[in-house]
């Protein structure tokens, strides 16, 4: 169990949250969790332990069966699908394990997409902000390329730029290095951390890697749908 600060202060809070996929047993059992502004937290755990599900609930991609999820102070349970989507696109950036870039858009257009969806910025401003964000992840020269022309590491850097470009309060990263080799993974992770620090947003990272997790402010472990704090000795030995 994990508790910190109040719901109002937290960027994300989950209270006694339970969830089951249709036709399956419960994946999360009464999870309580809070993420403060600017805080960077990692959740580690085995495959199928429920850590990605927690991320999906936090993003409002799934609705909790029980308990409450508050995102940026708003209770998701009280919002309809469209309102949840509006809240997500304004306050959240997501980095997926398998990048999820839109293959029919160029690199620049992929990064412009959240700005088009979430802000009222004009075309020129969108282009300028996206280009700046791409430059920040070191891909200024790849703007006009399509995702299929990039390496895996480059694609994930585009995904990071896309997640950050509209300056969300929270970045949700689901195994961002899971599809990359260790060297590229290390580079991408470092870039993610650097960008998160630079923008001051919160980060909730789901990963298998204890090594990466230890580099964040706090590490939690998910075991059979139950979220637990990790003491420093456990973290160090992992």
């Amino acid at each position: 169990m994990e508790q910190q600060g109040s719901v109002e202060d937290a960027v994300l809070s989950l209270t006694d949250v339970a969830f089951a996929y249709p036709g399956e047993g419960e994946v999360l059992h009464g999870v309580d969790f809070e993420l403060g502004a600017g805080e960077r937290v990692a959740i580690v755990g085995e495959s199928g332990s429920g850590k990605s599900t927690l991320l999906h609930l936090a993003a409002g991609l799934e609705a909790a069966d029980r308990g409450e999820v508050h995102l940026a102070g708003e209770a998701l349970a009280g919002l309809d699908e469209a309102a949840r989507t509006r809240l997500r696109r304004a306050r959240v950036g997501i980095v997926f394990q398998s990048f999820h870039l839109i293959p029919t858009l160029t690199v620049l257009e992929n990064v412009m997409l959240p700005l088009e969806l979430a802000t009222k910025a004009g075309a020129a401003e969108r282009r300028e902000r996206a280009a700046r964000q791409l430059a920040a992840v070191g891909l200024a020269d790849k703007e006009a390329r399509y995702p299929e022309a990039l390496s895996g590491g480059e694609q994930q850097r585009v995904a990071i730029a896309r997640a950050l470009v509209h300056e969300p309060a929270l970045i949700l990263a689901d195994e961002p290095t899971g599809n990359l080799d260790s060297r590229t993974g290390e580079t991408v992770f470092a870039l993610l951390l650097e960008q998160v620090r630079a923008t001051g947003c919160s980060l909730l990272l789901v990963t298998h890697s204890h090594e990466l997790a230890r580099r964040l402010d706090r590490v939690l472990t998910m075991r059979d749908g139950i979220l637990q704090a990790v003491d420093s000795a456990e973290a160090a030995s992992a």
């Binding site: 699908e81 999820h100 029919t104 969806l117």
Partner: protein, 847 residues
């Protein structure tokens, strides 16, 4: 092949029933339309042949005379001269109170034995009653079954002799052993009666229409020599030949339309089969991993297609038989309207037709699955190129197909320019051009979508929509091709029918130059042979105040081109000003003089086309007074008779010394400002007192009747057009569903980035709209081209009719809207599904 492999493959049916249903629907509709048209054609053909056979019986030759018949005494003379295998006939159409046209065959039962057997022989009990009881008639057995009146009921018949009551005799009720073979085969529309009754019904007192003769080859010349000048001996097969050929041309048109529907269905099947394979690439990969070979993968895909083909064909055959019941009535009505009175009592699927359609349906399913099966076998296994590879290949194929299309387009154009192959050549050219155009579409689609993507650069969602369509070319190209074909067919047929209708209307306006017409009171199809007294002219003028009277009479005469329809006119003075002359050797004024004073005739456009006659040629016609050669100084437009007509002035006709023995119709021209209503009333009052039943009609009534026949003729084409559009709609629906399902991961990503459900709906509908608009715009040139080909090549070859091309932009616009509307409508379901999609499972899908 392992049962488990098959099970792994086919279990998908339970998971995606809608996809399988769409594939099945494609096969079902394609097979149903082809079978229905074939059955309807065959049934109408059988009815036609049966009618001809029933009328002609076992005769080898027929002795024919003028349209009004010839003296029955001649038959007696013939028998007395030793020609024993002869049977006199009085025949003609009549109408039942419910409007059904029947064909009355008046026979001499004593002479019938060698010709039509017990159906009309005196040895049969029901036939004996015809002789002993005047006013009795033997309808076909099926009429009693279908229409209900009882044995010996009184039925009113309207024929050339006016309206008369007859007693109907049911053979089955009359016989001790019902269900005799001839009862079952004597369906159709032939009503047998004694000659005396027929003469009264058909206004032929003391006259015969023909004498059936059975001759050995050596006897033909002897009998021909024995005939008087006004009679001709013709072989039986020459009668009805023209009608047979024209009916066949009509059927070829229908068959072509049904094959087009099948072609569109093939696109649908290909689309769904490709999708079925692509969606199961994980299954393929897993099967390959455990050691299943490429051949087995290929086999399992084809086996599935075979299963779909068999189920779809069986269901399609059932639907086709049901649909044929609707179509056959339409086809039979057209044959009756234009060629010969036939009645079709039912559709009997022939085993051969069923076998052919079974092979077609299953073969088509297998052929459509061949490419996806090859794709599955080729890309199966780990490292397979999957969807991306297929799409890359599709894009490179588009360029190759464009090259092939150019070859096809050139070949089709060459066929048209050279005119090779006549009607069949015309259809081959049509299909080559259609195939060429359709094969060009993927390439055009790629470049159109690329152009659109440039246009919407910076507007992200529309850009995603068009780029996604381009990246799914294997999906979007067949769907747009199917819709383009259907819409083009709709435009082509609309242009052809519209041009035809407009030309017919214009022609009717030109041809009907009188204010009132007096015609025999008989069904339209019976009027050609019916006659009114020649000496009515003065009375008609006196009663109506007409300033000019024209007359016209149709009859069949023997010519050096076989039996031809001759129309003898005594026209109004200015008639040539209104006659739509197409080609003439001389200006109208000297032409009128020549037609009146020399042996000269005009021929209609279909006549010229069927018989290869040109201005300046000569025609030998057997007119009263003997065979004479007539020059043809001109050709005129006429839609009245698809077989073609020879037009002769009464002055030329009577020059042989024998004036026409009656008039087919009188045309009365009233003075300017005359009260037509009053003239009609006075004429009707006078006609009511006459022995011959006649009625007064106005040009408007004739136009209305003619246009009703015209519309009936093309009703079936409209029906096929609707079916084709339905198939195309399903094709685009299937393509959009497939497209959206394949792109589910992308849509889920967009949703996770913040695109609202409404945005997803808009995106999908936009894609449907783009495909629909592309198909609709592509359909315009193809449709107009098809319309032009139908008018200038197909119809000219099939019927000899020329017509002015009339473009109805309103109809073209309507079809375009229909296409875009259909595509938008088809996108509603996928849009709704995508907007409601659960995001997490879609995000987890393998890219």
């Amino acid at each position: 092949m392992s049962g488990l492999v098959l099970r792994a493959w086919l279990r998908d049916w339970r998971r995606r029933p809608l996809q399988r249903l769409l594939t099945l629907v494609g096969v079902i509709i394609g097979v149903a339309v082809v079978l229905a048209v074939d059955l309807a054609n065959q049934s109408a053909q059988r009815a036609f042949d049966r009618s001809m056979d029933e009328v002609a019986g076992a005769a080898t030759h027929q002795v024919l005379g003028p349209a009004s018949g010839f003296d029955e005494a001649f038959y007696r003379d013939l028998r007395m001269a030793g020609w024993r295998d002869t049977a006199p006939i009085v025949e003609g159409p009549a109408r039942l109170p419910d409007g059904t046209t029947i064909y009355v065959l008046g026979v001499d039962p004593l002479a019938e034995g060698p010709f039509r057997g017990t159906a009309s022989d005196i040895g049969d009990a029901p036939v004996q009653r015809l002789v002993t009881e005047p006013g009795t008639i033997l309808p076909p057995a099926s009429w009693f079954r279908d229409s209900g009146p009882a044995h010996e009921a009184r039925v009113t018949l309207e024929a050339a002799g006016g309206t008369r009551e007859v007693t109907v005799i049911d053979r089955a009720a009359e016989r001790e052993a019902p269900d005799a073979e001839e009862d079952r085969i004597a369906g159709g529309s032939l009503w047998v009666t004694d000659m005396a009754t027929a003469q009264v019904l058909l206004d032929r007192l003391g006259r015969l229409d023909r004498i059936d003769v059975r001759l050995a080859e050596a006897e033909v010349d002897a009998l021909r020599d024995a005939l008087p000048a006004e009679l001709e001996l013709v072989p039986v097969e020459s009668r009805g030949q023209a009608a047979r050929e024209l009916a066949q041309a009509f059927r070829i048109n229908l068959t072509a339309m049904s094959l087009l529907a099948l072609l569109i269905a093939a696109f649908l099947i290909y689309n769904t089969q490709t999708f079925a394979v692509l969606r199961r690439r994980e299954v393929i990969a897993s099967l390959r991993l455990v050691g299943v070979g490429r051949r087995a993968i290929f086999g399992v895909v084809l086996l599935e297609a075979l299963l779909v083909g068999v189920i779809g064909t069986l269901l399609g055959a059932l639907l086709g038989i049901a649909l044929a019941q609707v179509l056959v009535a339409q086809v039979a009505q057209t044959v009756t309207d234009h060629f010969f009175a036939v009645a079709v009592t039912g559709v009997t699927p022939r085993p051969l037709a069923l076998a052919a359609v079974f092979l077609l349906g299953v073969g088509l399913s297998l052929a459509a699955a061949m490419a996806p099966a090859w794709e599955a076998a080729r890309t199966a296994g780990p490292g397979g190129s999957g969807r991306g590879g297929l799409e890359r290949r599709a894009r490179s194929w588009a360029a190759w197909l464009a090259l092939v299309s150019l070859v096809l387009l050139l070949a089709g154009s060459g066929l048209i320019v050279t005119g090779a192959g006549a009607l069949v050549g015309g259809f081959v050219a049509l299909f080559l051009l259609i195939a060429g155009f359709v094969l060009l579409l993927p390439w055009v689609l790629v470049w159109t979508l690329r152009g659109l993507a440039v246009l919407v650069r910076g507007v992200t969602l529309p850009r995603i929509a068009v780029r996604s369509l381009e990246r799914s070319l294997s999906r979007s190209a067949p769907a747009t091709s199917a819709l383009t074909l259907a819409l083009a067919a709709a435009i082509g047929v609309a242009v052809m029918v519209g041009s035809f209708r407009g030309s017919v209307e214009q022609w009717l306006g030109q041809a009907l130059t009188s204010d009132l017409y007096v015609v025999p009171a008989a069904p339209a199809s019976a009027r050609a042979g019916a006659r009114l007294p020649q000496d009515w002219t003065a009375d008609l003028v006196a009663r109506s105040g007409a300033v000019s009277v024209s007359t016209g009479s149709s009859q069949e005469v023997v010519s050096d081109h076989g039996l031809v329809d001759l129309y003898v006119v005594r026209p109004h003075a200015d008639w040539l000003e209104y006659l739509p002359l197409l080609e003439a050797e001389a200006p109208r004024e000297p032409l009128g003089h020549r037609l009146a004073t020399e042996d000269a005739v005009l021929v209609t456009e279909p006549f010229a086309a069927h018989h290869g006659v040109e201005p300046g040629d000569r025609l030998s016609l057997a007119v009263p007074g003997g065979q004479r050669a007539f020059e043809v100084p001109g050709i005129y437009r006429d839609y009245g008779n698809p077989s073609g007509t020879v037009l002769m002035t009464q002055a030329a006709f009577a020059r042989g010394g024998v004036p026409p023995d009656g008039v087919g119709s009188f045309g009365l021209r009233l003075p300017d400002g005359a009260n037509a209503e009053q003239a009609v009333e006075q004429l009707e009052a006078w006609l009511a007192e006459q022995d011959h039943a006649a009625l007064v009609t106005r040009p408007g009534d004739i136009e209305q009747e003619s246009m009703a026949i015209f519309d009936r003729t093309f009703a079936i084409t409209h029906l096929l057009r609707v079916i084709t559009l339905v198939v195309a709609f399903i094709a685009i629906l299937g393509a959009l569903i497939a497209l959206q399902m394949e792109r589910a991961r992308e849509f889920a990503t967009l949703r996770s980035l913040g695109l609202l459900p409404g945005g997803v709906r808009a995106l999908v509908v936009l894609q449907g709209g783009v495909l629909g608009a592309f198909a609709a715009l592509s359909a315009i040139p193809l449709g107009l081209g098809m319309g032009w080909l139908l008018i200038e090549v197909i119809n000219r070859e099939a019927f000899g009719w020329g017509m002015d091309l009339r473009l109805s932009w309103a109809e073209v616009g309507e079809t375009v809207l229909l296409g875009v509307g259909a595509a938008l409508l088809a996108s509603v379901i996928p849009a709704w599904r995508m907007a409601r999609m659960r995001l997490v499972p879609a995000l987890r899908e393998t890219p």
